[in-house]
């Protein structure tokens, strides 16, 4: 189990996550039909460097880019290239940065132009599943409760949950202990403690849950070619409940600031 983070460390992660999520917002606006994925990668790199941070994925296990961009049936880890976005695509944008040695990691899936109702519904449910998982991040809850919340929300809407990839602890490294699966029985595995920081990231498929990794060694696609969506946020467990690290700390919860 990774070490619980101190208040100062959480502040640094808060900064890293804020930069990441703000960059994702820029990318979501930029993801229009006709834009190449390479171009989005360049925008992501520029935004992160301009904010004074460093890209977290570039060079991680020899990953060649700043951004992971996964279109339609691609689940995660798509490598930016010359491919152009088309009207109706759904585009998973996964990004991370390092601020003063601490990592922030986030992802969202956006539609290019007008997407059909089926894709919009998938993106909505995936985001809701992420929030359902985050709601479990209270002290004394267990890791299994997060997976259960995500899985039951996803499967309740008829989608399947990817098993081969999982969320993770995060802090001074991109992937720390413990792994955070998006499935599993509630009330099992490690207890959550204040200061624990987790990247929760449900990956939902319209069809079956199986994925395969393409020959580039990174891009994961659904085996049956069905649509897939991915949302991710970095969350800290605190005594006052979950703190989504890209959001401001709830002011009322810190009475010493009112003094």
């Amino acid at each position: 189990m990774s070490v619980a983070k101190s208040w100062d460390e959480l502040q640094k992660m808060h900064r890293a996550c804020t930069i990441t999520v703000e960059t994702l917002e820029v990318l979501a606006q930029a993801a229009q039909a006709g834009v190449t994925t390479k171009e989005l990668d360049r925008i992501a790199h520029d935004c992160i460097v301009k904010a004074g941070a460093r890209p977290a994925f570039l060079g991680y296990r020899d990953y060649p880019a700043t951004l992971c961009i996964s279109i339609n049936e691609e689940v995660v880890h798509g490598i930016p290239g010359p491919r152009k976005l088309r009207e109706g695509d759904i585009v998973g944008l996964d990004l991370g940065c390092i601020w003063k040695g601490f990592y922030g990691d986030a992802a969202r899936t956006v539609g290019v132009g007008q997407v059909d109702a089926r894709a919009a519904e998938l993106m909505r449910v995936t985001r809701e599943a992420l929030l359902a998982g985050i709601e479990q991040c209270w002290p004394k809850k267990r890791l299994g409760d997060i997976g259960w919340a995500v899985q039951s929300h996803a499967e309740g809407h008829g989608y399947s949950v990817v098993r081969e990839f999982v969320g993770h602890g995060i802090g001074t490294r991109l992937h720390e202990e413990p792994q955070v699966p998006n499935y599993g029985p509630p009330g099992r595995r490690e207890r959550l403690v204040p200061g624990l920081t987790l990247a929760i990231e449900p990956m939902l498929n319209v069809g079956r849950p199986e994925v395969k990794v393409l020959d580039d060694g990174w891009t994961a696609v659904t085996r049956d070619g069905s649509l897939s969506a991915h949302f991710e946020l970095t969350v800290a467990v605190t005594e006052h409940g979950p703190w989504i690290l890209s959001e401001p700390w709830p002011y009322a919860a810190r009475p010493e600031l009112h003094a």
């Binding site: 991680y60 990691d105 999982v166 990231e201």
Partner: protein, 74 residues
């Protein structure tokens, strides 16, 4: 960036010492030298004929080291 889900336990070499009911086997792990695991044939092993004395490969369960799966012949 999601992490690849936890890797499978490594295959250990073992020797079959006893055939139990219900397609279970008791094996002796080469390293530990004592009968330890009751082992169910793993589906990926296909149709194996396993007899006492055979050298096999076993993956132990991550949650119960007293159980494992025979994944192949050595």
């Amino acid at each position: 960036m999601p992490e690849a889900a936890g890797g499978e336990a490594p295959a250990l070499s073992a020797r079959v010492v006893e055939i139990l009911p219900s397609a279970l086997f008791r094996v002796e792990l080469a390293g530990q030298g004592r009968p330890q695991a009751t082992v169910h044939l793993a589906p990926e092993a296909g149709l194996l004929r396993v007899r006492p004395g055979d050298a096999v490969l076993v993956r132990l369960s991550p949650v119960d080291p007293g159980r494992g799966r025979i994944v192949g012949l050595q």
